[in-house]
Amino acid sequence: MRWAKILERSLLTIPVMVGVAIAVFLFMRLTPAADPVDLMMGEAGNVSQAEIERLKEEFNLDKPLLVQLKYFLTDLARFDLGQSITKRAPVGRLIKERLPATIELAAMSFLLALAIAVPIGILSAVKQNSILDRLSMGVSFFGLSLPGFWLGIILILLFSVKFGWFPTAGRIAYGVNLTDITGFHLLDSLLTGNSAAFVSALRHLFLPALTMGATMSATVARMVRSSMLEVLRQDYVTLARAKGLPEVSVICRHALRNALIPTVTVVAIQAGGFLAGNMIVETVFGWPGVGRLVVEAILRRDFPLVQGAVMIFAFTFIVMNLMADILYTLINPKISL
């Protein structure tokens, strides 16, 4: 039964994706009269009108909107996201090349955020109103308020320029010869047993992951705390304590499991956002991910590239939410899809 439901939910993603495709296409064309060919030529001379017309024709920008939409949807049905106007390369390839960097950063941020947030959230709830609770909630409020670009630059100035502990930008050091298998540097270095590459990739990941994870850890810590407080007041927790169970077991096995349900929702939404790439963090740390790619594409009105990237983002969001729903049922069997 559960599998049938999962299949049904998965199939529902198809009409959603078609809707997203049309919406993205129209919204991009609704951006105030900007012309990708003119932007490509820049503010410099020696551009002929004939050349502009020819390029517009090649990119189908001279066709009526509905014809352009038809081309886009027909290509999409063949899983072809089209050709980037500015990079002159297939959109699918451009996104595929950058996805590992984005996923690796997202996964690291995610792990770092959870590793910080969940223990803090639990401790704050268990020691409610203690100095530890107030301090950690104060810090998490601070974390929530920090803009990513500011935190990133401060971390670089402190840990890269001042102490020289971490590199300023990039994914891996030059001179570390890593064989590219999956595109994920950490994974590739483990697969090839290259410890120097693993350490280098980890050091490059640390500051951007910390910057990106800061906001999420603050949100999650507050979420875990409030859910835990609610659950700890339930009768079954009192019963567990009355049975004489050790406090660690009461908290971790009985209370935390139920407290995690609302947290999973928040985490899933944030994780979806993470996978869409974080333009600011990717820009600050020179991280070659999808977020930066799409922002550059938007500024230069590279319609096919923006459309392709947003389709991937939408798909990621839908999948992450579906996974969150499935996860609910695993955490609490009383919930059904």
Binding site: A34, R88, Y174, G175
Partner: protein, 523 residues
């Protein structure tokens, strides 16, 4: 018991941090910018944006050109003083106004060992000129070959360029064109070529991703480069890495941390911070962009020339250069880049005089001023706000509106706005490619909607006159005319601010922003 677990968790977290940071001492990357840079001579250049492509026929941007130019040589190149000197060509002649003959250097090879010949020159230009010749796509650079009709091979080391009408700026445009290997591209296709580029330049492509970094290595069989730009020979450094660092603060931090050796696009306020660092040198060159306030001459009250002149008098550009741009700009009173071909340095321009501005406004019928919105892209906000403030002092109620460039440009071209502050590039240093888009009617950069038959006639004349002195005189006359007619308030040419580690030698910034690493070395 619980407390001891807590200590274990904190202890583990600290251990990870210490491990990660402690690895720096013995890890190869620290070596790459420290000891190894001496051993293998590695130079890392921090660039401000992603590269579009590695195919010399498919790009338009300057940053892409900087990277490509280190792998591909052209027929000619430029010194940092913008003088045109031979590179893959040894000499040239201009037998008729529409024909140029180039004699090529012999013994030059591409990175795959193929010899460089006239066939490659013909092919390189045909890829740009002939529509859909790049795996079915057209080059966005066909405007950069002007009225070029065809390129003919005379023998293996001689080519002839034939134009449908004289195109005097050909030679100044030529450094922007790079030569590509015909046989290699025909065999492998343009898509493969863009990912595995082969040129005849000082460095060969090793690996890279367009928005991460491009790694190149010295081409040991390099012919040596232009004899006019010593030292001639293979590059001194072994490895050149162009690393994309879009955030300015990160680029500067990378330089200070030693993760980059050269960076460009340093903003004035950070240049002063860098000057305080003894490990870093800040260098400047007069840029090839000219900055100005443009008036829509078809809209009231800016259709009145006295009003435009009044605004010219009201702006204290020297103060803007000193206070907003921290001195990193050069004043120009004419609509041209200082030092360009035909630059008119005899014109005095409009001196800063609020009294004269008020008088002219009164003469024009606006003794109490008027309200005016000045548009600009957000990067020019500070200068535009300073201009608005100065206009307010003479009674013009000026305000600033910031836009995304992509949104603003079409509105300016359509003549929907009143006034805008911006810039235009003139990397050939020939006023032709500034005047054509900016001041000819219906051109893509004519935001002032300027249409003056006298200017149009002078421009058309200059465009085809080959005699340099005669052409320069027309350009000087045009500058006088434009200053008189005042469709712009010419402002300044900004300096290109770049910086390097103090152990970098033989490197000077170039007015056209190119960072050529052929001659660069490390102490």
């Amino acid at each position: 018991m619980r407390r001891s677990r807590w200590f274990v968790v904190v202890g583990m977290a600290l251990a990870v941090l210490v491990f990660l940071s402690g690895c720096g001492g013995s890890e190869p990357e620290t070596e790459s910018v420290g000891e190894a840079e001496q051993k293998d001579k590695i130079i890392v250049v921090g660039i401000k944006e992603s590269i579009d492509t590695l195919d010399p026929a498919l790009y338009r941007g300057r940053v892409t050109e900087t990277v490509i130019r280190n792998m591909f040589d052209g027929l000619v190149t430029r010194t940092t003083d913008m003088e045109i000197v031979p590179e893959l060509a040894v000499s040239w002649e201009n037998p008729t106004p529409t024909e140029w003959i180039f004699y090529l250097r012999e013994g030059v090879t591409f990175h795959n060992g193929d010899p460089f010949t006239a066939d490659d020159v013909v092919y390189s230009f045909e890829r740009i000129m002939i529509p859909e010749s790049i795996d079915g796509e057209s080059s966005p650079r066909s405007g950069m070959v002007g009225s070029m009709e065809r390129v003919e091979k005379i023998d293996d080391y001689t080519v002839k360029f034939i134009f449908s009408e004289p195109w005097p700026i050909f030679l100044r445009m030529l450094p922007h064109h790079q030569m590509v290997p015909k046989n290699y591209i025909e065999e492998h296709g343009s898509a493969h070529f863009a990912q595995n580029p082969i040129g005849a330049g000082p460095f060969k492509f090793v690996r890279g991703q367009l928005d991460e970094e491009i790694v190149m290595e010295r081409y040991d069989d390099y012919y040596g480069g232009s004899p006019d730009l010593p030292p001639v020979g293979p590059p001194a450094i072994k490895t050149a890495i162009f690393k994309v660092l879009p955030e300015t603060a990160t680029r500067v931090a990378a330089l200070q941390a030693g993760d980059a050796h050269i960076i460009h696009a340093v903003p004035p306020h950070l240049a002063n911070q860098l000057k305080a660092d003894s490990n870093v040198e800040v260098k400047t060159a007069i840029g090839t962009r000219v900055f100005f306030l443009e008036f829509n001459v078809t809209k009231e009250p800016l259709d009145n020339v006295e009003v435009r002149r009044a605004i010219n008098h009201a702006i204290d550009w020297d103060s803007i250069i000193d206070n907003v741009l921290e001195g990193y700009a050069v004043r120009t009173v004419v609509p041209a880049v200082p030092g360009c071909f035909g630059y008119n340095d005899e014109i005095k321009g409009y001196e800063y005089s609020p009294d004269k501005a008020r008088n002219l406004l009164a003469v024009a019928g606006y003794p109490k001023g008027f309200s005016l919105v000045i548009d600009c892209e957000s990067e020019f906000k500070d200068v535009t706000e300073a201009i608005a403030q100065m206009l307010n002092e003479v009674g013009i109620e000026a305000s600033v509106r910031q836009w995304d460039g992509g949104v603003l440009k079409p509105k300016l071209v359509e003549g929907e706005r009143h006034a805008s502050f911006g810039s235009w590039g003139n990397s050939t240093m020939e006023p032709y490619d500034l005047f054509e888009p900016k001041l000819l009617p219906n051109e893509r950069g004519n935001y002032s909607q300027y249409n003056n038959p006298e200017f149009n006639a002078l421009f058309e004349k200059a465009a085809i006159i080959v005699d340099e002195e005669e052409r320069a005189q027309i350009y000087r006359d045009i500058q006088a005319l434009i200053v008189e007619d005042a469709p712009w308030a010419p402002g300044y040419s900004s300096q290109e601010i770049e910086a390097c580690r103090s152990n970098v030698i033989n490197w000077e910034p170039s007015p056209d922003n190119r960072i050529n690493l052929h001659r660069v070395d490390l102490k």
